[in-house]
């Protein structure tokens, strides 16, 4: 497994220094991504999915964030390599796109310049050559008349176009992995679908792996082949898309499906997960979901491990004996 995987994250932990001491935000995160595989990371706000993505490229604020564990990309540990090694890998081997494209682009440089400089930071090409290749990249992500758009500033473009620019920029050096941190959350639904299609197509054409971070289970179903469900800083379920949608094994996954709006619920109140996510500073021992879980038992005060069942991993003592409703 380790040989064939592109990214191998092992026991990743992220801590934040606060006035009250070190607070863990994610702990014991282990997963791997094979070349060309599209993996979704799903969870609600604050579950640690975004910091997980940022930690891989060393983008967490260095003054307050501490990272432990191992994240091997093509056999090299991202978490311990030097700044300059990580810099050469960022943008070239691993690309990244973000939630708000407007704020992720530098407002005072043209989009063309921002794409070209990425290419020129990693390859030895002339200014002219960089321009031509950037225009080609803009065309490939579906930006109309790219020669003219090259000299536009980001604020002139719509959100969807800005995200396309971000994608063109992240992919200009043909990375093997793209980390996408909620890239469609800030966009209209129709634009969202276009961006998803675009990522799907580019990943297929280039054999590029995708780590897609989102809170939207529907988007993951369209795009990804495998999904990691995060709850309170831990992976609670890791399974292929079909099996998790057909028959989730963790009560939290099932509860997420139940709280998705659908037509059969017309006129009825949308089921919600009662209670709230425990804070990281006072995380309960044992199963972190037990206070909100409809299937909790006295035994759940012990700490469940992420156990393998068939082709999936689940962090629940009752994974074998529960039959939970899925989304289909």
């Amino acid at each position: 497994m380790a040989v064939s995987s592109l990214l191998d994250v092992d026991n990743l932990g992220i801590f934040f220094e606060t006035p009250r001491g070190m607070v863990p935000t994610v702990s014991g995160i282990s997963f791997s991504v094979r070349p060309g595989e599209r993996v979704g990371i799903v969870g609600e706000s604050g579950c640690g999915k975004t910091v997980t993505g940022l930690s891989l490229l060393g983008l967490l604020p260095p003054q307050v964030a501490r990272v432990s564990g191992r994240a091997l990309f093509e056999g090299r540990n991202l978490l311990t390599m030097s700044r300059s090694q990580l810099r050469r890998l960022s943008g070239a081997g691993i690309g990244m796109i973000f939630q708000e494209p407007m704020r992720a682009l530098d407002p005072v440089f043209t989009i063309g310049e921002q794409i070209s400089e990425t290419l020129r930071a990693h390859t030895d090409v002339s200014r002219r050559e960089a321009r031509l290749r950037s225009i080609a990249a803009l065309a490939e992500v579906g930006i109309p008349s790219p020669e003219r758009r090259y000299d536009d500033y980001p604020h002139i473009l719509s959100g969807g176009m800005q995200q396309r620019v971000m994608i063109a920029m992240a992919l200009i050096c043909r990375p093997r992995l793209l980390i996408a941190d909620e890239p469609t959350t800030a966009l209209d639904v129709t634009v969202q679908a276009q961006i998803i299609d675009l990522l799907h197509r580019l990943s297929d054409e280039r054999g590029m792996a995708l780590l897609f971070i989102t809170h939207d289970l529907g988007v993951v179903a369209e795009l990804c082949t495998r999904v990691l469900i995060l709850y309170a800083g831990q992976i609670v379920e890791d399974a292929a898309i079909e099996s998790v949608y057909r028959a989730p094994k963790h009560p939290y996954t099932a509860a997420l499906f139940q709280s998705m709006p659908r037509l059969s619920l017309r006129g009825k109140p949308l089921p919600v997960i009662g209670g709230r996510v425990p804070g990281f500073a006072d995380m309960p021992g044992g199963c972190r979901f037990r206070d909100r879980c409809a299937y909790a038992q006295p035994g759940c005060v012990r700490k469940p491990e992420l156990e393998s069942y068939d082709d999936r991993r689940v962090r629940c003592f009752r994974a074998c004996d529960l039959t939970l409703p899925g989304a289909v």
Binding site: L57, R87, M96, L105, T118, A121
Partner: protein
């Protein structure tokens, strides 16, 4: 397209500067109207005969409606006819022409010093936030803002002019015949004037760069693997340039006001000392002339800065 946008912006800025100039010049003109009692009597001086007062009234056009007076006053001013000083009988335009370069030299040197010291200090502090160098710069900045310029001027004179004899104690050399001497004379006053300016520039630069460093596009630049030097020198500097422009504009206005005190401390005959003498002697034509000159300079500087904004920030367009 870029050229067209710039042309439109310059036109727009000029349109905006026009009304500002009209209002400001009207206020300068209105100064005469604010003189307590009858202006003609004030102008005629004490012990003037009734006939002399009437003569003055007609001479200065004080018998005409106020807008007409303003119009002809503005027209005269625009042609460089600023009438004569009531104290020395020297044409106001001549004394301004003689003194303005001196003030501009001091202010220019002070601007240069403020920016040359303030920007690097602010950048250094922001690059090492909450480290020793940051604390030192922040402390220096607070001190620089708190210290009065005239006090610093006196300290500088006693150390560098009187004890060490490196610089002249006071006065100014003739700029036309001895330009280096003039610069030499202007250094201490400029330093005294620049201290608070440098402090302000350092503070603004620091906070602007810190804000930009925590922005999301800085994270993108890291994620795409740009070298640190390029992130800082290319993206960082261009993004803080708008803040720096604003600071520069405000700084210029402040330094221009600050010269009044500094010129008094260093006994420099510039615009500041001219207006002080005029104000104590109720020499209204001189006060008006100085104010008008200052207003025109300030409006012109702001106009240039307004246009430069658009060069550095593509988001700024005509609304």
């Amino acid at each position: 397209m870029r050229a067209k946008r710039m042309a439109r912006l310059i036109g727009y800025s000029l349109l905006q500067a026009g009304p500002v100039l009209v209002v400001a010049t009207f206020m300068v003109f209105a100064l005469m109207q604010l003189v307590p009692g009858d202006v003609a009597i004030a102008l005629a001086g004490e012990n003037a005969t009734r006939a002399r007062v009437e003569e003055i009234r007609i001479l200065y056009g004080l018998d005409r409606p106020i807008l007409a007076q303003y119009g002809s006053w503005l027209w005269k001013m625009a042609q460089g006819d600023m009438s004569v000083s009531m104290l020395s009988a020297e044409p106001v335009f001549d004394s301004i022409q003689r003194r303005l370069p001196v003030t501009l030299l001091v202010v220019g040197l002070a601007m240069l010093a403020s920016l040359a010291v303030g920007i690097p200090l602010g950048l250094t502090a922001a690059m090492h936030p909450r480290r020793l160098v940051d604390f030192v710069v922040t402390a220096f900045a607070s001190l620089g803002i708190a210290l009065p310029g005239f006090w610093l001027g006196m300290i500088l004179v006693s150390i560098f002019a009187m004890s060490l004899n490196w610089f002249p104690v006071s006065g100014m050399a003739k700029m036309a015949t001895d330009p280096w001497g003039a610069v030499w004379h202007a250094i201490l006053p400029a330093v005294a004037l620049a201290a608070s300016g440098a402090a302000e520039v350092a503070r603004q630069t620091r906070s602007a760069l810190l804000e930009i460093q925590s922005s999301q596009y800085m994270r993108t630049l890291l994620a795409k693997g740009l070298p640190q030097s390029q992130i800082f020198w290319k993206h960082g500097l261009k993004n803080i340039s708008v803040t720096l422009l604003t600071v520069t504009g405000l700084l210029f206005n402040r330094l221009l006001g600050g010269t009044v005190v500094i010129e008094a401390v260093f006994a420099i005959s510039g615009m500041g000392s001219l207006v002080v003498t005029a104000a104590t002697g109720k020499d209204y034509p001189v006060i008006q002339g100085v104010m008008l000159t200052m207003v025109v300079i300030v409006v012109a500087v702001n106009l240039v800065i307004e246009i430069l904004y658009a060069v550095f920030d593509p988001r700024i367009t005509t609304r």
